[in-house]
Amino acid sequence: MIEHAYIIPLLQLFAFVLIVFFLRWREPLSAACSIAMIAIGWVMSIVVLIEMIGCHGVAYEAYFYLTAFASLNFEIGILVDPLTAVMLMVVTTVGGCVVIYSVGYMKGDPRFSRFFSYLSLFLFSMLGLVLANNFFMIFIFWELVGLTSYLLIGFWFEKKVASDAGKKAFITTRIGDLGFIVGLLLIAVYTGTFNFGEVFDKAGAGVIPAGVLTVIAVFVFCGAVGKSAQFPLHVWLPDAMEGPTPVSALIHAATMVAAGVYLVARTMPLFVASAEAAMVVAVIGLITSFIAASIGLVQNDIKRVLAYSTVSQLGYMIMALGLFGYDSAHNHHSAGYVAGTLHLMTHGCFKGLLFLGAGSVIHAVHTNNIQEMGGLGPKMRTTAITFMIASLSIAGIFPFSGFWSKDEIIATVQHHPIFMFFTLVIAFMTAFYMWRLCFLTFFGKPRDQRKFDRVHESPRVMTWPLVFLAFLSIFAGWVALPWLHHGYSSFVYYGEIHHAGPNYLLMIISTIVALSGIGLAYLIYYKQAISADRLAERFKPVYTLLYNKYYFDELYDLILIRPLMAFARFMWTFDARVIDGLVNLTGSATILWSDIKEWFDTWIVDGAVNGIGWLVKQCSAVLRFLEPGRVQFYVLFILAGIVVAALAKFEGAFIAARWPVLSAICLAGLLVLGLLTRFAEAGQKEIQAAADAADMNAEGQEQ
């Protein structure tokens, strides 16, 4: 099955084509088509994963050359290794849940089929990205993912905010992609190939100068920064919450944002070869994680809290991967690679669940604002319980899957005190804001009775994926139990297997931190022992700063968008005045020149032609008197001709001596004759007319 893994993304493409061209007007069928294809893909992914485990993680690669440009080969191919197998699993699992869930969530939407076609196209791009075996292909799918995320975020494009959010996501990630493509070009220039294996071999062998390698790694990381919403390009993800909630779950939990983390993990050899680049990655991850978590503390939009939580968790993964690269570059053992990819997997499960649960809540309450919710727990039992399981998981409570992956991350940072400190602070904040969300949503008294009265549990098609994902949120992390000797860390690893074994001290610390976060949230939002408002009042500057998301949007608006707009306006004016002026001037000059040519044509060229015509006409007007039109005259002329011929024959000398005079006499005679006939004719006509008149009279008299 591994060698047929390319079928998994192609199935999604097939579903997309089928829906777009044939099933557009049959909504149940298009949903069924999407679900069937992702289900087949899911089963195939399981088989691939099992086979991968069976062959102890030996990578499989197959490709063919598409075309060659100079000495650079463009390949199409697949690379299946443990990382890919795990990613396939995550994407198809969460993707499948989201597609099924969407049947309930998008019910009655006028563009129901289109939504499913987009979902399928998105899954195609994401699975293709995961399977790609070279930078060129990964970039193509990378951009396809960007395109489909744009389509999905702006799916309700009638809403201005939604279409704006789509544009923002697209353009912001494009900035990162610019760096990515620069990195790709540098790779092409320095290694002459795009293939992962060859590039990494050359990077490891020192073919690329160390400085250039760092630059390449940082540029490639730029792509990941854009896609995974890392600082400073994190601003698009919270806005992207304007899309339908299943999209948020799909894009912002399991797949698109994971693409950046996946890229860093995939290109890990570059970071291992360049400790500086790896440190950049780790620091960016830490900053992102801290900023996003702190913003998440005070937001009131349920999906935005989750969005900032996602950004924060992605920062975790990036940080772990960066630290792994840094440690490996210095020949230290590190759990970072395992931690980053494991957290990617568990996070995909519980964050997908959180988003789908939030979607279920929004579906019931018709608002995103958690201040208007409250007390929903008893009314939406399944949603509430699954949501809380996911919250426990993300907070890192034993024995949920989040605990194990977070434990690995903490194990990674334990030798870096600053990182260790902030990681624990972030873990505390994560637990706090997630449980703040839970308490405000599901516990306490309803704050908006009117909305509360209409609340009902979501249909089964929406709750079943929740239950399934809740199951995974508990158990997915168990593949990495530290007591297992052939667990996750000996399957997905980089370099050599590094098995640390359980570290009980770290486990206890992280549990204490998480529990204290939950406890604080409990005190403030459930017991209300500490007033949230009073706290906000006390730390007003900090609160305002966080509530306004560190003013990033305003800052970008000020330093980037406005100058750009001003520049664009200037260019527009330049266009309107100078370029258009030049064009119009050319136009006027051409018209003027054409006028001159027209005059020349009319009077000189046509004049010559017409003049010749006129001259011929005048000459013929004279000559036509020679043609009276009567047969007898022609006979007379023949006779005259014969006489002349006879004279010429017998009196040739006489005529030759006087021919001008004779011919003049002849011509004059002919003319006179012609004129005479003309007059004769006219006279005859008068006579005729008189005769006719007489006839008429005679007839009249007869009658």
């Binding site: 036509r624 039109g629 047969v631 007898q632 006979v635």
Partner: protein, 99 residues
């Protein structure tokens, strides 16, 4: 021989005069016949007095008689059509052979 040729010349001239001066198309056709016959007389005369051992002139004369008959047929047919079109057969009526 001189008498014959004189007769032929006179006939020809009379015919020519008729062709040129007659108004009536039938008259013109008859004058044409006179000219043909003048030519016939010439042929026969020259054959009789100059090429005594052949019959070329006589045969030619007979051909001309035949052709003249055909020509008269066609001419009369044309005259008929002219009559239908112009209600008359004066050659002045159809002085349209110009421009």
């Amino acid at each position: 021989m001189f008498h014959y040729l004189t007769l032929a010349a006179l006939l020809f001239s009379i015919g020519l005069f008729g062709v040129i001066t007659r108004r009536n198309t039938i008259g013109i056709l008859m004058s044409l016949e006179l000219m043909f016959n003048a030519v016939n007389i010439n042929f026969v005369t020259f054959n009789r007095y100059i090429m005594t051992d052949g019959l070329t002139g006589q045969i030619f004369a007979i051909f001309i008689v035949v052709v003249a008959a055909a020509e008269a047929t066609v001419g009369l047919a044309i005259v008929l059509l002219v009559y239908r079109n112009w209600r008359g057969i004066d050659s002045d009526n159809y002085a349209v052979m110009k421009w």
